[in-house]
């Protein structure tokens, strides 16, 4: 037999195939670059504060011009009512938005996915309890729930000595964002539970059981990878919703008060806009728009490339 017939084509795993396809998706890659840029900026701001560097474009508090200067050559996006640079404020706002959205997203997924998988897989009493829990939580209007949590957690110091982690102090805004994470797991939990229920009677699960797979293994090795694309899409969408929630919370007076945030900038626009001062709000809106767009595009492309059904046969 000739050489050609002996060479077997190398198979690709779902993930490597997915990533390969994703890499070819130009828009998604552009989105990834944008996302990375925002994250790196936020990280950079943290580092610069830790090391006490004085970077000029991060000094948002300095008065650099007259009040309400429209965009011009010196200040690209103009100044606010105190003469501070809107550009610098916008850049600094990245820190808060990214941090908060990230922590809240991770928290909600960390709670929601295991609970959803367990509920959907075991059904019975366990399912009833988990469903009761999230139904009760989700019955309460979101804003109120966050508010309530925020009030309870405000300025509290959580004792984590039992976990060997010392004491976690919740200053100001942290309580609100912890609240967001603790209340937002319901969505992903429900989705995962629904998918797991659909999948658990499918043949590949029965096949796994038939050769002796334990429940834990079935959940982690078989079910979760098959429903994981939902987590990805949910993560990217949820991230976006947290960034946008910050805007609303600022509007309700719960936002970050000590440093600039995009939400606060839009909030001041309520009064500024009728006076004709549009630049602060536009800057913040665009900042939110680009990260949200990048996340959405990337999340979509990621989902498409990870979906096992879309693989090339």
């Amino acid at each position: 037999m000739s050489e050609q017939s002996k060479k077997l084509p190398k198979g690709r795993s779902l993930w490597s195939d997915g990533i390969h396809r994703l890499a070819g998706h130009k828009l998604a890659m552009a989105g990834l670059v944008v996302i990375a840029a925002y994250f790196l900026l936020a990280a950079f701001i943290y580092i610069s504060e830790l090391c006490n560097w004085k970077i000029s474009f991060l000094q948002w508090g300095d008065k650099i011009g007259r009040e309400y200067e429209p965009p011009n050559a010196k200040n690209i996006i103009g100044t606010d009512f105190l003469g501070r640079s809107v550009l610098r404020k916008t850049i600094y706002g990245t820190k808060i938005s990214i941090t908060v959205a990230f922590l809240a997203s991770i928290l909600s997924i960390a709670i929601g996915v295991p609970l959803g998988a367990i509920a959907g897989y075991f059904r019975g009493a366990v399912d009833e309890i988990i469903v009761w829990l999230y139904t009760t939580l989700s019955s309460i209007p979101y804003i109120l729930l966050i508010l309530a949590f925020a009030l309870v957690l405000k300025d509290k110091a959580i004792n984590l000595h039992w976990a060997g982690l010392g004491t976690l102090e919740l200053r100001g805004i942290a309580s609100v964002y912890l609240a967001m994470g603790l209340t937002s797991w319901v969505g992903i939990c429900r989705l995962i539970r629904g998918e797991v229920i659909k999948h658990k009677d499918r043949e590949y699960v029965l096949a796994a059981k038939s050769y002796g797979c334990g429940d834990g293994r079935i959940i982690t090795r078989h079910l979760i990878p098959n429903v994981f694309h939902i987590v990805i899409i949910d993560f990217s969408l949820r991230f976006v919703s947290f960034i946008q929630a910050e805007v609303i919370l600022s509007f309700l007076g719960l936002g970050e008060k000590n440093s600039p945030s995009w939400g606060a900038m839009i909030d001041t626009a309520r009064l500024d806009l009728p006076k004709g001062y549009w630049w602060e709000m536009t800057a913040a809106t665009l900042a939110i728009f680009f990260i949200s767009l990048a996340l959405n595009v990337f999340g979509d492309a990621l989902r498409d490339s990870l979906d096992p059904k879309l693989r090339i046969q």
């Binding site: 037999m1 000739s2 050489e3 050609q4 017939s5 070819g24």
Partner: protein, 337 residues
């Protein structure tokens, strides 16, 4: 009138898929003729393009990634590829019907079986609801489902795989199609049910006087049920003949290899012979004859390695695409079908 009993004729049909990794030429220059009232089997390994050929006849190739790139499909004196969508819909389910491999997922889970059968009837025969329902009951009986009056209101999930396939068949024959395309209809079923379904198809063929295009990878089925056969390999037809001739006198090394690998009574060797190697990657077909890497003769022959042989009819109705097939060199005229 070039009728002479031919119901469907494919002439140099090619179908391509446009993927991120390149163009996949799933079907290349396929020509075959299906005669009235006869069963034509299209046989080959997984991935050789036989299902795509069937989908091409129905013009159900998934678009936009797939496209019929050339050729003609003549049915009832019309080229199906030239019909507009509306005309084609009139053909589907009505004059040409198709059943698929997976009865478990090929039926809509949220509608009753009766509803789904009656749907085609209502559409193509313009009958009233209750009439169509009666027809559906009759169809279920025809395909051998007992208690059809009651079962008409069952949902697919309440039926076994074999029964669901019968329902698919009932749906397909409900409008008395002239041609039934069966894409691996029994592959997903157990052996007993397989035999039952194939018997059913035979019966229906006689009753309804229709032709069947049977897509399969199982030579056993071909031997039992097919009148005419075409063997496909890597997007092309390797050999075609009527069933008796093919089994008695296979000319293509691939066909020969396949037949040798069939288990048969009286076999005394230690291992069943196989066709060595595997089906080539459609993105990287070998040059020349696509089978040459696996061919005991062709792997060392320069002509086989560089020039692709086309189908030539070495005897009436017996076509083969192999430089080394008996009688191949002498034929220059390839029109004899």
């Amino acid at each position: 009138m070039n009728n002479n009993g031919t119901l469907l004729s494919l002439e140099n049909v090619s179908t391509h898929f446009f993927t991120a990794d390149g163009i996949v030429k799933a079907v290349q220059n396929i020509s075959l003729k299906i005669k009235k009232g006869r069963t034509f089997a299209l046989v080959g390994e997984s991935g050789c393009g036989k299902s795509v050929t069937a989908l091409s006849v129905m013009r159900l190739v998934p678009h936009p990634q797939g496209k019929i790139a050339g050729g003609k499909i003549i049915f009832e004196e019309k080229n199906l590829l030239e019909l507009n969508e509306k005309q084609m819909r009139n053909v589907r389910g009505n004059k040409i019907a198709m059943i698929f491999q997976e009865p478990m997922t090929s039926l809509n889970p949220v509608y009753t079986v009766g509803n789904q059968i009656a749907e085609a009837i209502k559409l193509h025969q313009d009958k009233a609801g209750w009439q169509a329902k009666e027809d559906a009951v009759e169809m279920l009986q025809k395909v051998g489902i007992a208690d059809s009056q009651r079962r008409i209101n069952d949902y697919p999930h309440q039926m076994s795989g074999g029964m669901r396939q019968r329902v698919m068949i009932a749906m397909a024959i409900s409008c008395q199609p002239k041609l039934l395309i069966a894409d691996e209809p029994t592959t997903a079923l157990d052996v007993t049910t397989q035999a039952q379904i194939l018997d059913l198809l035979d019966e229906l063929q006689q009753q309804e006087k229709m032709s069947i295009l049977l897509i399969t990878h199982d030579l056993g089925i071909v031997a039992e049920r097919a009148d005419d056969v075409a063997v496909m390999y890597a997007s092309r037809i390797a050999e075609t003949a009527d069933s008796k001739t093919l089994f008695a006198n296979p000319l293509h090394p691939y066909t020969q290899g396949l037949l040798k690998s069939l288990p048969r009574l009286g076999f005394t060797g230690e291992r069943l012979p196989t066709v060595a190697g595997i089906v080539p990657d459609p993105l990287h077909f070998p040059s020349g004859c696509k089978f040459h890497p696996r061919c005991p003769i062709g792997c060392n022959d320069e002509r086989c390695q560089t020039i692709e042989p086309e189908i030539r009819y070495v005897a009436p109705g017996h076509g083969v695409a192999c430089w080394h097939a008996q009688g191949y060199e002498k034929i220059t005229d390839k029109q004899n079908g």
